[in-house]
């Protein structure tokens, strides 16, 4: 039973890092004049997707039935998270910019790790 909770805990931890990281250490570029670029909104979207993943992780930990379905529903959210910075929402044009050098690779890795955790959870989940 405890082993089944491990993917859920990992997913919850990763979603917290994504949600809080998007507004702190993984935040996008800061414009000198205080205006917002597209990368700002990409960061905000990732924060939202991270929050959704967090809710799904809590549901997977608390629910006794339908756990596999919750994990499977996290997979498209992770895919959306991977595609958001750079593909669905454009970032700054220079690859040396913070949004491209830090935010994009870190969030892609974190969402990919979340997808792996969700997939592992779906495989391990035993439906009673």
């Amino acid at each position: 039973m405890k082993k089944q909770l491990i993917p859920g805990c990992v997913l919850l931890a990763l979603s917290l890092v994504i949600t809080l990281g998007s507004i702190s250490f993984l935040s996008p570029c800061v414009h000198e004049d205080g205006s917002f670029g597209a990368c700002h909104w990409a960061g905000r979207s990732c924060m939202g997707i991270g929050a959704v993943l967090g809710i799904l992780a809590v549901m997977a930990l608390l629910l006794r039935r339908g756990r596999r379905g919750v994990y499977l529903s996290a997979l498209p959210a992770c895919l959306l998270g991977i595609l958001t910075p750079g593909t669905l929402i454009s970032l700054c044009r220079m690859s040396s910019m913070r949004c491209r050098a830090v935010m994009q690779p870190a969030l892609i890795i974190l969402f990919a790790a979340s997808a792996l955790a969700a997939a592992a959870g779906a495989v391990c989940a035993k439906e009673s």
Partner: protein
């Protein structure tokens, strides 16, 4: 085959021990692969900078030294602009020993709508240029036309895309190969386009006029010295002849970077060596402890008819497999830290940084995994020797 299957079973049934041994070799391979890739990238970055500069001396206005450091422009792509009279090129060509002189004009763009920083625009004279033109020619056969630009590899713009610089539309006609320097963040155009952009900048209230009032302005002149001529003497002659102009020897600039690179390289090598020594010592200790712990198990196997050589092979296979597992995990982790964050590493190091080719990286990764498994197998060899000498009777009675 039987030995291999037995070794795999042993590893699976003792997951804690397998993970601990693999972690040690993972740590070793992480340091070796990560450190080597960083050092190789710095070396290829320096080579790229040397070949990219192509000039022996660069002439810049004296104010350039006090404004944005000239080195920052090359290493970090810091946008900067300073101007001098265009006649400096002709005057430089009159100095004995000067073979070629190519002017360049710099313009720092306003904060573009795409980015939160300024982009360095560099105007070149295709007829005279010998530094940027060879790089552009690789991507663009017909040269740069009016209002056409070539972008460095770090400017994310596709071919045919329109970039707005000072509200002027410039068409991207070439994307340059990476150089690992700050010049990768620059945009290149011909002198006619640069004049139009300077006019557009003036309309926005950015004054580029120089004190002499000349309309034709440049920012730097790249000098190629004739074969056999003394670069130091030519440098002195240029400094003597041209007023309010500083002659910078590229060799001295590269030597400074090379010294920093040597320092980073030494530190990384020392760290790798330290990790190596530590990991090997810990592996040896762990295998010796395991050999004590498993003495009973081996005594039973001996009593069941297993030969000394067979048991030795089994321990060696187990340790080599742990090495392969850990080596692959460590290399993968290092790759995950280094490749996606290469732009960040480059910024933090403030040195030319150009990742090696895919073939080199693949060979390095394979070599690291092999090295990790060889070190692990070598540490396991001692345990195998010790275990093969165990007397089954005394081991089962509790002694080793």
């Amino acid at each position: 085959m039987k030995t291999f299957a037995l070794s795999v079973q042993n590893l699976i049934r003792k997951p804690g021990r397998t993970v601990a041994l693999s972690l040690l070799t993972a740590f070793l391979s992480l340091a070796v692969f990560g450190g080597t890739v960083v050092v190789l990238s710095l070396r290829s970055g320096l080579q790229s900078l040397e070949s990219r500069l192509g000039a022996d001396i660069i002439l810049v206005p004296s104010e350039a030294q006090s404004k944005v450091s000239f080195k920052d422009l090359f290493l970090q792509g810091t946008a900067g602009a300073w101007y001098m009279d265009a006649s400096v090129t002709e005057k430089a060509l009159e100095v004995p020993g000067v073979e070629k002189a190519a002017p360049q004009t710099f313009l720092a763009s306003l904060k573009a709508d795409c980015c939160s920083v300024k982009i360095q625009v560099i105007g070149i004279d295709p007829q005279l240029d010998f530094t940027v033109q060879p790089w552009i020619s690789r991507s663009l056969k017909n040269g740069l036309g009016d209002m056409e630009i070539a972008v460095g590899c770090k400017v994310e713009a596709g071919m045919g895309e329109i970039l707005r610089i000072y509200d002027r539309q410039c068409k991207v006609t070439a994307c340059l190969e990476p150089t690992g320097t700050g010049l990768d963040t620059a945009v290149y155009c011909n002198m006619d386009t640069m004049r139009k952009l300077l006019e557009a900048a003036e309309e926005k209230g950015i004054n580029h006029k120089i004190k002499s009032g000349d309309e034709d302005i440049i920012s730097a002149v790249y000098i190629k010295v004739r074969d056999g001529a003394d670069i130091g003497q030519v440098n002195s002659a240029l400094t003597g002849k041209l007023r309010k102009v500083t002659a910078v020897r590229t060799r001295s600039m590269i030597t400074g970077i090379s010294d920093s690179l040597a320092g980073v390289s030494r530190t990384v090598t020392l760290l790798i060596a330290l990790v190596w020594v530590l990991a090997v010592v810990i592996l040896l200790l762990v295998f010796l402890m395991i050999s004590r712990e498993r003495a009973g198990e081996f005594a039973v196997l001996r009593l069941l008819g297993a030969s000394r050589q067979g048991l030795g092979r089994m321990v060696l296979t187990e340790s080599a497999l742990c090495g392969v597992l850990g080596g692959a995990a460590g290399t993968a982790l290092a790759a995950l830290c280094i490749f996606p964050f290469s732009a960040l590493i480059e910024q933090q190091l403030s040195l030319p940084y150009l990742l090696p080719g895919a073939g080199t990286i693949l060979a390095l990764a394979l070599g690291t995994v092999l090295l990790a498994s060889a070190v692990s197998a070598a540490a396991g060899f001692l345990a195998a020797r010790r275990l093969s000498r165990v007397d089954p009777g005394s081991a089962l009675r509790g002694g080793t």
